[in-house]
């Protein structure tokens, strides 16, 4: 840098904070934390930060909290690694990117063992990555396990049997009581095949491996089309759930009676539906060749990462571990009802009683981990398939049948990226 003053300041603070020295009494440690401020996360963080300070009375912690959503943390950190937070929350689909760009380093073995010992296996998997020519290592601390989606419905309108099959739901749905799946969003659009077909991602070659263009899969989606398309806007609506949340309520005439969405919306929808709220795993549907297909989904976790170049790595790790330990997760669940990743907390009665979390648990066997299955090139082609399912062919120039559309999809996601 140019200014001598800031250079000296930097050197001075480096000396003061160098981790390989000894910590004397009355020392100040500065930690920067990033997390979303909404949904009560900030209050949880402040409580935990207070508890952390109590646990280490000999050090004064100066902790700053930056409002950065989990989806933005990776981009923000990569934009300028110097000013990135020491501890930040992020969604697991960013793990590969962060590890490959050197923002996250493997946890020390002790910490990795702690994580493996206390967190759900699927969360540990979401937090692990295998670098080329290395073994699989854990790179972050799991925070929550509920980053997936399920079916939410109005139980005054649908019975438990109805929601087991898509046909059953469509039979009852009509223009004034619709089922919502956001087929224009690659996150949901291929849920028909996520369990039935194969999909995985190679983060080194940055291509996908998939069999979505097989005849069986094409038939499956054709079956889905046959159920959905006749009911388009007359029972089935493809729209972002955020936009129709108020349509759940009785006051609005229950214009929406079911939706595929995740745990993050459960509170809002519960407000609208009150006692009529129910959640369950995704339904099955019949493929064009008469086999029954279970709708799949993505699963994922929220993770807490420690910046690889942090000047206070030891304390950052300690803090990250602290906010993801059992007590913290218990507190977090009680405060904001997020699905915990801790095995003990997750098994507790209170958690099992949460309808949203129970539904996610039920859906889990049919879901694939988002971080390991899809990369950047997945989203747009997937959205095109979704649009095809709902609207049919986009134009005379494009694919005319679902087989062609899936072939185009596979071509796009298996294409070697531009160098």
């Amino acid at each position: 840098m140019f200014k001598p003053k800031s250079l000296f300041l930097l050197m001075a603070s480096l000396l003061a904070l160098s981790g390989c020295g000894d910590t004397t009494e009355g020392e100040t440690v500065r930690l920067q934390v990033w997390g979303p401020a909404k949904e009560g996360e900030k209050e949880v963080y402040e409580y935990l930060a207070g508890k952390f300070q109590e646990a280490h009375p000999e050090i004064t912690f100066k902790m700053g909290f930056g409002d950065v959503g989990e989806g933005d943390a990776a981009t923000m950190a990569l934009g300028d690694i110097d000013t990135a937070a020491d501890v930040f929350m992020f969604a697991d689909d960013q793990l590969a990117n962060l590890v490959q760009k050197g923002v996250l380093n493997a946890l020390p073995t002790t910490y990795a063992n702690i994580v493996k010992g206390r967190d759900l296996e699927r969360c540990v998997n979401d937090a692990s990555f295998t670098k080329q020519d290395e073994e699989e290592k854990v790179y972050a601390f799991p925070l929550s396990s509920d980053n997936g989606y399920m079916l939410v419905y109005n139980k005054a309108f649908f019975t438990a049997t109805d929601v087991q099959t898509l046909e059953g739901m469509m039979a009852k749905a009509n223009k004034d009581h619709q089922v919502v799946i956001d087929m224009g969003n690659g996150y949901y659009s291929l849920s028909g095949l996520l369990d039935y077909g194969e999909l995985s991602y190679d983060p080194y070659a940055r291509v996908h491996e998939t069999d979505f263009d097989s005849t069986a899969n094409a038939n499956a989606l054709q079956g889905l089309i046959d159920i959905i398309q006749p009911k388009k806007d007359k029972g089935f609506k493809s729209v972002n759930v955020d936009d129709i949340m108020t349509d759940f309520s009785d006051a609005n005439g229950n214009k929406v009676v079911a939706a595929v969405t995740g745990n993050w919306n459960v509170d809002n929808i519960m407000e609208e539906l009150g006692d009529d709220f129910a959640a369950t795993k995704l339904p099955t549907y019949t493929s064009a060749d008469s086999s029954t297909v279970q709708m799949g989904s993505f699963s994922g976790s929220k993770l807490v990462g420690v910046k690889s170049s942090s000047l206070v790595s030891a304390w950052a790790l300690a803090f990250a571990e602290f906010v993801t330990n059992e007590a913290a997760q218990q507190y977090r669940f009680e405060a904001i009802k997020k699905g915990p990743s801790n095995i003990v907390v997750d098994g507790s009665a209170a958690v099992l009683a949460e309808p949203g979390l129970a539904a996610l648990d039920a859906q889990y066997p049919f879901s694939i981990p988002q971080g390991k299955s899809v990369g950047e090139s997945f989203w747009t082609p997937a959205a095109s398939v979704g649009n095809f399912i709902v609207n049919g062919p986009a134009g005379v120039d494009g694919p005319q049948t679902i087989q062609e559309q899936l072939a185009a999809f596979v071509a796009a996601v298996t294409a070697a990226p531009e160098v």
């Binding site: 390989c20 760009k101 050197g102 923002v103 020390p108 030891a314 185009a408 294409a415 160098v419």
Partner: protein, 745 residues
């Protein structure tokens, strides 16, 4: 007489036909011009239509679509016919021009005037007749070709895409228009002859005046369009010529400067030589210490900056390959307080220390280089200042010494003090406020623009020569120089890149968008302003204020609102559905064609209040007597608009239109906030949308998306800049001369 005029006079009902026919039909000078321009326009139309089909054929050949035999023959037939007819048209025009000019000399002689004029009118009639035949044949061929091609079996031959429909429509309309003109022309000439010979007088009817008005308007449009295209072609050629001249000039200047630099040192006095090492020292030796101190402070600052750790030289040293090592790992202990050497392996933390950052190296090296250039300029100025000052100083000193003898003050036995002829510091400061005021005023902007515009600019240009993207970039990987490889990726299909296809698509749409956006806003704003300005309308200020309110709400708010409104399940669709006006949801923003139209319409909503305000102000200032005199001459409303209002408006708002066109090429806000680039084009490997223009695509490639293709983004940015600068400079030169005239009428 009206014969000297090259443009036909205003045609008003009641005007004397004879005069009109004389001036346009048979006047020798206008005959020359009109016949020549007739043929030129015919030529232009013929070539453009032939060109359309040629282009189509070439496109098909190169995209290796199979074209069946009948279509191919149709194409070739058209092309040959067009070329032959164009040649004939050109030849005919030249012939007519030559023949009429041969008559020109005779027309001034009273006795042969009638004969000459009749001969000229005969030529004119032939011109008109040939035009009619040519255009009819061409039109018939076009229609035949279209019928053949659309009935052809190879499906992709004529697909109704945006481009081709417009081009085809323009060609056909132009042909029809030209046909009408030619027919009208023949009649005019024939009647002119009769009237001239019979010396009859008869007023012209309304219908005739409209037809002739439209005809001549179309003709003027054609000529104008032709000139416009020629302007660009000329400017394009001039660009390369100018560039070459510039490079040569720069090379010569650099060589000359190097020579001067060394010669000044060699030939300089001790003061000059010292000033080469200690900036401005010469001034102190001439009694002006303040200036020296200032210069020396600058010099010290510069060298300090260069030698500082992480200062100038550090960055320059890494500039050649943009970094050697991006990061390294050090180990710390996760157990608080334990030094690393006794830390057990399972507690060791891998801490990354980031070292070379290619992006920062590029940026700061550029800054250093620019700073050095600026410093060097100051350095050279200081030396020159010393040399110049020295000249006067030494001369004065010599004079003082030579007049020394005999003027000693007898009282104090002292020599009179030597007065330096050089301006004192105080004088120099005063100068800065007067003769060198430009230095004072421009210094601060120069500094800030260099730091915040020039450095980032050069940085961005240099990035286009690297391979900076997600894989090769900070924090843990380096990127390096790759020369022109990025440009190749963007503009060609080298290496199987599909960036070029995306680029071509987006470029086309950018120009279409800019054209429609600019002109729709302008014309609709003008019409709105005229409506409000009408004499009988009350509450003018209120109407204007209503539209102005929409400007005041920040653009991105209104645009986000619009995208909400047009959302497929948004309030507009829902309300229309509920009212029963539509039976199912309209896809405004997810179907490409709809999205394109929606974007243009929303832009109209956003932009018309601006253009309304501006045209309103200008309209109010058109002198009323222009309209009065036209009305006295019998002009109708439409004619007044075409002949007075439009030219005046175009004159005053010419620069504004250009700025708007460029602005629309770079109009990020409207498209980004409304459609985000629009429905995706689904090109594997490259992500772009159907309403993306160059800037929005640039944004998504770099800052906005996860792609982080910075190198390609920079190459794209350079291209956008070249287009904008080119259009601005070439069009501005044409209109700025006009605007500096100040007075229109």
């Amino acid at each position: 007489m009206n014969e000297k005029k090259t443009t036909p006079p205003l045609m008003f009902p009641g005007q004397d036909k004879k005069d009109f026919y004389l001036s346009t039909g048979t006047g020798h000078y206008s005959h020359l011009m009109s016949s020549f321009s007739n043929f030129v326009i015919g030529l232009v139309i013929a070539i453009s239509m032939g060109g359309f089909f040629i282009a189509r054929l070439l496109h098909l050949i190169f995209t290796s679509t199979s074209v069946d035999a009948s279509s191919q023959s149709a194409y070739w037939l058209l092309i040959i016919a067009t070329l032959v007819l164009s040649a004939a048209a050109l030849a005919g025009g030249v012939l007519a021009a030559v023949s009429s000019s041969s008559q020109r000399a005779k027309v001034n002689r009273e006795e042969v005037r009638d004969e000459v004029l009749i001969k000229c009118s005969r030529y004119q009639a032939i011109v008109g007749l040939v035009n009619v035949i040519l255009t009819s044949v061409l039109l018939a061929l076009e229609i035949a070709a279209i019928i053949i091609l659309s009935a052809s079996t190879s499906g992709a031959v004529i697909t109704p895409s945006f481009w081709w429909i417009i081009l085809l429509a323009v060609s056909v309309l132009a042909s029809i228009g030209y046909l009408i003109i030619s027919l009208g022309h023949i009649k005019a000439v024939k009647n002119g002859r009769e009237y001239y010979l019979a010396k009859k007088v008869e007023p012209i009817s309304m219908v005739e005046s409209i037809v002739i008005g439209i005809g001549s308007g179309a003709k003027n449009l054609g000529v104008g369009l032709f000139n416009f295209i020629m302007l660009f072609i000329k400017a394009f050629i001039n660009l390369f010529v100018a560039l070459y001249k510039l490079i040569v000039k720069v090379a010569i200047a650099v060589a000359k400067f190097a020579k001067k630099f060394t010669m000044t040192f060699i030939k300089g006095t001790y003061r000059t030589k010292l000033s080469y090492f200690f900036m401005g020292l010469g001034h102190a030796l001439m009694g002006r210490p303040v200036k020296t101190i200032l210069y020396l402070i600058l010099e010290a600052g510069y060298w300090l900056f260069m030698f500082l750790p992480q200062g100038g030289f550090y960055w320059l040293s890494k500039f050649d390959n943009l970094g050697d090592q991006a990061s390294k790992i050090v180990y710390e202990c996760s157990i608080i307080g334990m030094p690393i050497n006794i830390c057990p392996v399972e507690d060791q933390i891998e801490v990354t220390v980031f070292m070379d950052n290619s992006m920062l190296i590029t940026l700061f090296a550029v800054a250093t280089i620019l700073l050095t250039v600026a410093f060097f300029a100051l350095y050279w100025i200081s030396i020159r200042g010393v040399v110049k000052a020295e000249e006067t100083y030494v001369e004065a000193l010599k004079k003082h010494e030579s007049t020394d003898d005999g003027t000693t003050n007898s009282a104090t036995q002292e020599k009179p003090k030597f007065k330096s002829p050089l301006p004192t510091f105080k004088n120099e400061v005063n100068e800065l406020l007067n003769s060198r005021f430009h230095l004072t005023t421009l210094s601060i902007p120069a500094i800030t623009i260099t730091v915040f515009t020039l450095v980032p600019l050069v940085f961005m240009i240099l990035l286009a020569f690297t391979n900076f993207n997600q894989q090769n970039g900070p924090p843990n990987t380096l990127f390096t120089w790759v020369g022109l490889q990025t440009f190749a990726q963007l503009f060609t299909s080298v290496g199987g890149s599909s960036f070029s296809k995306a680029f071509g698509d987006i470029l086309g749409w950018t120009f279409i968008w800019a054209f429609f956006a600019t002109f729709s806003n302008y014309i609709l704003g003008l019409i709105l302003a005229m409506m409000i300005n009408r004499k009988g309308i009350k509450l003018k200020k209120m109407w204007r204020t209503i539209f102005v309110i929409t400007i005041a709400v920040p653009q991105f708010v209104t645009l986000l609102l619009m995208s909400q409104l047009l959302y497929k399940y948004g309030p507009l669709n829902e309300t229309l559905l509920r009212l029963g006006w539509i039976s199912e949801y309209i896809d405004f923003l997810t179907v490409p064609l709809n999205a394109k139209i929606a974007v243009i319409l929303v832009n109209v909503w956003v932009g018309v209040p601006y253009t309304m305000l501006i045209t309103s102000g200008i309209l109010m200032n058109i002198p009323d007597d222009l309209y009065e005199s036209a009305r006295i001459d019998g002009a109708g409303r439409f004619t007044q608009f075409v002949k007075i209002t439009m030219p005046y408006m175009l004159f005053v708002t010419g620069p504004y239109l250009i700025t708007q066109f460029i602005g629309n090429i770079n109009n990020f806000n409207v498209i980004f906030f409304l459609t985000g680039g629009g429905p995706s084009a689904n090109l594997p490997g490259v992500e772009y949308g159907k309403t993306d223009i160059l800037v929005t695509w640039l944004y998504r490639l770099t800052v906005g998306g996860a792609q982080q293709e910075y190198a390609i983004g920079s190459a794209l940015g350079i291209f956008i800049f070249l287009i904008s600068a080119f259009i601005t400079l070439s069009l501005y030169a044409k209109t700025s001369a006009a605007t500096q005239e100040g007075d229109f009428a």
